[in-house]
């Protein structure tokens, strides 16, 4: 331990800087929670743009509506919906572990699969409802 420089480069988790571990499904899902969270972070800009346009007046609102109504806009919103559902289910997964419950290996694997599948299914259901309503 004598060569550990505690003041400068402090030791950090090995997987962060040197992928020391084999990539597993649970690991990828765990990281995707942070990635979807980051996507939602950026996505707050979209919500702001829509609300500001509404506050500015009919011209600005129609312009922003046409942007989000375009194919590219819808694609971004679809990804945004998925990130939201995936991140929400990931949060619920963390709540279950906070209880603590379902901490056995097969249950952990099940929750990871449920997060991924549930996120995709919820996103598809919401968009099907969305197109049915419109």
């Amino acid at each position: 331990m004598t060569d550990v420089d505690l003041k400068g480069k402090r030791p950090i988790s090995p997987h962060v800087q040197h992928s020391a571990y084999k990539v597993t499904f649970s690991m990828a899902t765990s990281i995707s929670h942070r990635l979807s969270g980051s996507a939602l972070y950026a996505g707050m800009f979209f919500l702001a743009s829509w609300l500001i346009a509404l506050a500015m007046g009919p011209e600005a609102f129609d312009f922003v509506q046409s942007l989000w109504g375009s194919i590219l806009g819808r694609l971004v919103l679809f990804c945004f919906t998925w990130a939201m559902m995936h991140h929400m289910l990931g949060g619920i997964r963390h709540f279950i572990w906070d209880i603590p419950a379902m901490m056995e290996k097969p249950q952990i694997e099940f929750l990871y699969v449920a997060t991924v599948v549930g996120g995709i299914v919820l996103t598809l259901i919401l968009w099907i409802i969305g197109y049915a309503v419109m």
Binding site: G37, Y41, I52, L54, A55, F61, M88, G91, F95, M134
Partner: protein, 124 residues
């Protein structure tokens, strides 16, 4: 008398104990409900024109709900990105720059959302 409480109260890098973790959990719990409500609101507003969208956001119940969603999202996103910068950015300079950028982005975006909702509600 010493209890395990001393390990959570006032300790840690910024002397905030478990405040960060606890705030994340509380805002996450609120956001589960707020997200479901938000998705429902978006579905209700699909294809609506300017006047009906304005009337909907101007509804006191919906604007209260939106303001809460913005507030909790703002805290949650700010704290979440803080965790990410602390975990992945080793350089003190980049970490500080990222934190400054996060503070500005979170504050500006949330302030813009709040002002917009209030203007639609009160601005006539």
């Amino acid at each position: 008398m010493k209890t395990p409480l001393k390990t959570v109260r006032g300790l840690g890098e910024k002397h905030h104990g478990t405040e960060h973790h606890w705030t994340m959990r509380i805002t996450a719990l609120a956001l589960v409900f707020l997200c479901i409500g938000f998705v429902w609101l978006v579905i209700c507003m699909l294809g609506s024109d300017y006047e009906s969208a304005k009337a909907m956001i101007g509804n006191p119940l919906i604007s209260t709900f939106l303001l809460l969603a913005i507030l909790f999202s703002g805290i949650h996103m700010h704290y979440g990105v803080q965790t990410i910068t602390e975990d992945y950015l080793q350089s003190q300079l980049w970490r500080t720059l990222a934190k400054i950028g996060d503070m500005f982005f979170s504050t500006v975006v949330c302030a813009a959302c709040v002002v917009a909702v209030l203007k639609v509600s009160f601005g006539g």
